[in-house]
């Protein structure tokens, strides 16, 4: 029973934590160079907020999200390329931090099955249709 209450309180806290935001990027974080800022926003939208539910660090107001946003911007200013910044983050947090799953052997099925399925669907209908036409 106590465990249940504990779990419920934790979940409520998690809910609160994740819903209680509206401050994402703050004005002081914004880079002056518009191109760099756009790059930073795009990268941030692909980085998962580790303490939220299914949000990117671009949307979250958690302190860790803010730190990562600032880190990404400083790396952009230093001249790092996008893939270098992603590698920096995945080296430390794993692939979990990427909202767009990377294309790897473990995610081949994820990326290709939808289109494979689509083609299978068309083939099934087409072959069934052809058989029916013959009858």
């Amino acid at each position: 029973m106590k465990k249940r209450i504990f779990i419920i309180i934790i979940s409520v806290c998690l809910v609160l934590f994740s819903l209680n935001f509206s401050y994402a990027v703050e004005p002081e974080e914004v880079l002056e160079n518009q191109k760099q800022e756009t790059r930073a926003r795009n990268i941030s939208k692909n980085i998962r907020c580790m303490v939220c539910q299914n949000q990117s660090i671009d949307e979250s107001n958690s302190p860790l999200a803010k730190d990562l946003r600032i880190l990404i911007r400083s790396k952009i200013k230093e001249g790092d390329k996008d893939f270098e910044i992603y590698k920096f983050l995945t080296d430390r947090y794993g692939d979990f931090i990427l909202l767009k799953p990377p294309l790897k052997s473990s995610t081949l099925a994820l990326w290709f099955l939808p289109f494979v399925f689509f083609i299978i669907g068309i083939l099934i209908v087409y072959s069934h249709n052809r058989k029916s036409k013959k009858n």
Binding site: K3, S11, R48, D95, V125
Partner: protein
Amino acid sequence: MAASLGYLLLWLSLVFSISQFYFSKNKAKIKLISISVNGLLISTLISFFLLIYVHVISDFSVLNVFQNSHTTKPLIYKIAGVWGNHEGSMLLWILVLTIFNYFLFKLYNKGNCTFVSKTLQIQAFISAGFILFTLLTSNPFERIFPVQTNGLGFNPILQDPALAAHPPLLYIGYVGFSAAFSISIAALTLGNSEKVPWYIYMKSFVLISWTFLSIGIALGAFWAYYELGWGGWWFWDPVENASFMPWLLGTALLHSLLIVEKRKSLQTWVLLLSILAFILSMVGTFLVRSGILTSVHTFALDPSRGIYILAFIALLGGYSLILFGTKSKKYFDNNYFSFLSKEGSILINNILMIVVCFTVFLGTIYPLIVEALTNNKISVGEPYYNSTVVPIMIPAILVMGIGPILSWGKEEKLKVLKKIFPTLVVTAVMTITTFLIYQSYSLIGIVGIILAFWIIANNVTILIKKNKTHALGMVIAHLGIGLLILGITGSSVWQEEKIARMKIGNEIKIEKYNVLFDRIDKIKGPNYLALQGNFLIFNDQKKIITKLKPENRFYPIKNNFTTEASIHTNLLRDLYIVLGDGNINDGWVVRIYYNPLVVWIWIGSIVIFIGGIVSMKKNINKIKIL
């Protein structure tokens, strides 16, 4: 007392569901079946009302009330709080099951008695399973001693009218597919020896489910948009996906049922789809309640509940799929479909809906599969779905424009071109006009706008011509989708955001508007204190359009903060302001969003709902004649 009675009545419901299962084996026992159906409905209904009652009177000896309620909650939210938690929502789920059970019973007549009895037997089994689950693992009437003086309160963010209505509407959707499932099992088991128009019965239930699922999902998105603070309304959260998948299958099912009606074809496919739709509804329930993943939507619970639900899914799913594998042959047909025909376009719609559903399912469970196999965790987020679902939806929308105007059987290409030429012109004109207004070009924006106006033009044309050959409900629903796409495209592609630190008296420009930070007020609400910012919005002619008042609220009881965005809406755009952190000396963080065409998402959703209701009415009239 009320709680004990409620608990007892829930056991009584279980008894009635078992008796319904037993008596419906023999179709002659109509009186006993009737007693079971009505008894099941009434005892569940009273049990549910008793749960509402203990919430309303704040009986904190009931654990469910203690965990989810508080004396300061407004009455409406005390009631809505009943289904805002796991145990209470299970009771709601069961209630909707028994209501659909009742309507299945209403179909009963001399001609279809075997068929409907069989359907009721399946429905009884499903009901018994869920009632047993609730009684054994999730009793809403469980007591707690010693009795506390007040409850754990409830998240103030969830005290919202849209969110209160969200679960009941969704559940009508999810649970309604149980009726379609039961009809499918009955059809497979009995082989339609009675020549019962089961597909017409199924269509009514699918229509009801689909219509309410649509508006339930839309309501959830609407709430997210105005409550969460940055103009987002869909996040591909696993539980959101769990509501989208049955919707996709329901859409495919609705369209295929048309073909079954008109050409007695595709019956095996429809039988399979209805099984899959309900299985996915149950998988949705599983994801929310098992604790297998965390999400803003989940009730965080222990895995033992998950195991029960999973076992039940395995039982129902396994049984139905094996039954389908062995018995569906009787419904098999060898009809030929020309692709340039109404059947052809419905077929394409079905393929695409299934592929999208499969993709969403894959994306949702893939992290779980990777974790089980490699002990690594990956995320599958919005970028994945944008790359996969969106490209597949595009041809589906294109087909949706042509499909309704094609005739059954093969159509000549020239004739088709003649039919669509006027709407093509209108589409081109509206597209160009839109881009003249918004001035910002992107591939996905162009595609979205063309698709939206293509659908809108086609269906408005049909409405104007008052063409009786087209089902009114379908035209309205399709029009709604067109409006929905218009809103989705506009708000996704052309959103503008301005973030600034503003002191009182500062002004900032967004699009053609000037936003002046007028002052900060301290205000008091029923259960909160707030800092309210006052912003004056001027248009390019220096006239005041509106005053926006975003708030930062503090709820002392829950000891937490929320922000309330302030929104000004018109048909062309939303202006959306959020107040962040700050103080009088340094100023405040202010976020301003310009969201074009957002309102069309909500208008489109309502139009879809109306289309569904119109179709439902027509379909129910058809059944009355049967």
